[in-house]
Amino acid sequence: MSLFSALSVGASGMAAQRARAELLVENMANAETTRTPEGGPYRRKDVVFESGSVESPFSPVFQSQLDAPVGVTVSDVITDASEPERRYMPGHPDADKDGYVAFPKMNPAEDMVDLMGSARTYEANVAAIGAVKDMIQRSIDLLH
């Protein structure tokens, strides 16, 4: 069952990177958002990754605890708590009494670089799944 669990590990990596990419895109889309349901400007979000065993449809029956594969999961989503950036825009509907508007503290370059890193790691996981899938196929071909 070893190789099949490697597929689950690759899939866990893909899911984790996808979750990270979704948050990064959300951050960039909301770079100028001044209103949120919680009040105040949008706050940057990021994921925390944690390594842990992955679930497989057959885990209780076929997998012993000893060779549980080590995948990755999103253990937490953290929200940036730093002070928002204040810009002087007196005509803005969300301006305070001094004419300042609180904007999300965002560095588009940082998010863009993280997004590229996320996409590359996603690709690496896809390549890993492809290689493992090929190995499984070769093993099955032994029967022909």
Partner: protein, 111 residues
């Protein structure tokens, strides 16, 4: 097991898939803070005839990043390709072993 060589090939394939699983884990955890690269000592595991789950070791001598993670994607992609190629070679050999046994059976039926 057909003969001694097939047994060795079987062990080789087992070890390769165990190693590939660790490579997949390392790639999946490429961004996990504090994760350390894992591998098996392939040569000594292969020489060690006792079949069973191989010992998992942490790889030494890799550059540690600021978040305590030392996964090198270059190393892992090299190993990924290498394991897949070795696996292909070994299954090819095992295939020819099986086909010669099958040929022997077929010839026996033919007479």
């Amino acid at each position: 097991m057909i003969d001694r060589l097939s047994g060795q090939l079987e062990r080789y394939l087992d070890l390769l898939s165990a190693r590939q699983k660790l490579v997949a884990s390392n790639i999946a955890n490429a961004d996990t803070p504090g994760y350390h690269t894992q591998d098996i000592d392939f040569q000594s595991e292969f020489r060690n005839a006792a079949t069973g789950t191989p010992n998992v070791l942490e790889v030494a001598g890799l550059a540690m990043k600021n978040d305590g993670n030392n996964v090198s994607l270059d190393r892992e992609s090299r190993l990924l390709a290498e394991n897949a190629l070795r696996f292909n070679a070994a299954t090819g050999l095992l295939r020819s072993q099986i086909s010669s046994v099958r040929a022997a059976i077929k010839e026996g039926q033919g007479s």
